[in-house]
Amino acid sequence: MRLSHSSGNHRDVRRSRVAGRIPWVLTVPAAAGLLFLVLPLAGLLLRAPWPTLLPRLAEPNVLEALRLSLVTATIATAVCIVLGVPLAWVLARAEFPGRRIVRALVTVPLVLPPVVGGVALLLVLGRRGVVGQWLDSAFGITLPFTTAGVMVAEAFVAMPFLVISVEGALRAADLRYEEAAATLGASRWTIFRRVTLPLVAPGVAAGAVLCWARALGEFGATITFAGNFPGQTQTMPLAVYLALETDPEAAIVLSLVLLAVSIAILASLRDRWVNSP
């Protein structure tokens, strides 16, 4: 969805006037912050084994890991949208006792070390887990060591990013539109679908992008819950870690591929969907 840019000229004028007044107290730490974030990337670029880059990229296991990473991160993000947007709506709009506790619980995966998250997933969804042993006996489904397990691990770690971002957008949205729709007789579900969702679409898009990026870089929960097997569960971050054990140059190459692909996708999505002037 594109939002209209009709007021663009006005905004540009205002912004340039404001820009003249940015104080050095802000610009100096801002520049330091930018350097801090960008220098490690520069380090990777400087140390990259450029002459052998292409042959290394053509190795089948690199492409396999990249494909697996992109597929699992995308499906995990879709799962997060389907479950996370309603959850964000409940947190932002519904009144119920214990809402603060629920919100705190949603952010647990953010503070939990991902490896611990992976162990927790094993204890619940593993072959001997509380839910997992029932899944196994009733349907013959075991999640650990499968590609589906990778998606579960990624969704677990990444969903809070989406929920928090969508909840923020919902709280910032103008409630009067929803109230107007309600006075015209629209049901809560219709309002959600026709008014609320279009209103917070940029927030959902931004949340989905964050969520996808987090899922793409996921390492700890994945290797703990889903294990590591090429073509099955070995995503790029896992391949990078194992390459680091014996061949740091290969690890740099893999990291650069992951970076380049994710930056390309994020940049193109940003222009298309996320309305950030």
């Binding site: 060591f145 294990g227 590591n228 097997f229 070995q234 870690y241 194992l242 390459a243 054990e245 014996t246």
Partner: protein, 220 residues
């Protein structure tokens, strides 16, 4: 003094560190335990270590190739065992059982010493195993068995002993063809070189051997 040592040495080296501190009042031994391959990379990248004890000659070679250590000494050997959850639910009897597709197997990744040893042992037996996962170190492999997520794994004998009943060990004859040598060396840039030399002497002494043998290691 800082000692970088393979994860499989955790129990024994902490014990040796304590006796070293008792013998050398005023010296504190700090340990960094981890995958030998990771530790070797950290040393090459300039980590301030005095002693490196690795789980394979190959990982020690990373350090000697960078001229950061010379003349490593082999101080212990470790052999693989099949680890199964208590009660052995999949009825694993030997290495051959691992080729059964119904048996879920975890191995270490080939990049780390326990994985390299596993490949060697399976090659020696002429068997092909399709594991469900290749773990990043021996402790992670062991965890998968402890939690019952896999039916069997190839880990070190010392890990089975250290798990104190959480997993059961099954020795197999082909393990003899894939015994890991553990080399130790004082690093050439050691900040506490004298203490480092004395620590290595303690590890290779009879007292060191006793501690290591008790934990399941073999004499070199």
């Amino acid at each position: 003094m800082t000692v970088f040592a393979a994860a499989s040495l955790t129990g024994t080296f902490i014990e040796l560190g304590k006796s070293f501190e008792a013998d050398n009042p005023g010296t504190t031994v700090r340990f960094n335990f981890g995958s030998s391959a990771t530790l070797a990379q950290q040393i090459v990248q300039g980590a301030p270590a005095d002693v490196f004890a690795a789980a394979s000659p190959a990982t020690m070679k990373t350090v000697t190739d960078a001229s950061l250590a010379s003349t490593p000494v082999t101080f212990a050997r470790n052999r693989l065992e099949i680890a199964v959850p208590p009660g052995n639910p999949a009825k694993v009897e030997g290495l051959k059982s691992l080729t059964d597709t119904k048996v879920k197997v975890a191995l270490c990744a080939e990049q780390v010493p326990c994985g390299a040893a596993a490949v060697k042992a399976l090659d020696a037996a002429g068997l092909t195993v399709k594991p469900v996962t290749l773990e990043q170190d021996v402790k992670a492999t062991l965890t998968k068995v402890e939690l019952g997520e896999v039916d069997a794994a190839l880990v070190y004998r010392t890990d089975v002993l250290a798990s104190a009943g959480k997993v059961q060990g099954i020795p197999f004859p082909e393990a003899g063809k894939a015994v890991n040598d553990y080399p130790i060396a004082v690093l050439s840039k050691a900040p506490s070189g004298d203490a480092a030399q004395r620590f290595v002497e303690l590890v290779v002494s009879q007292r060191g051997k006793d501690v290591l043998t008790k934990a399941g290691f073999e004499a070199p």
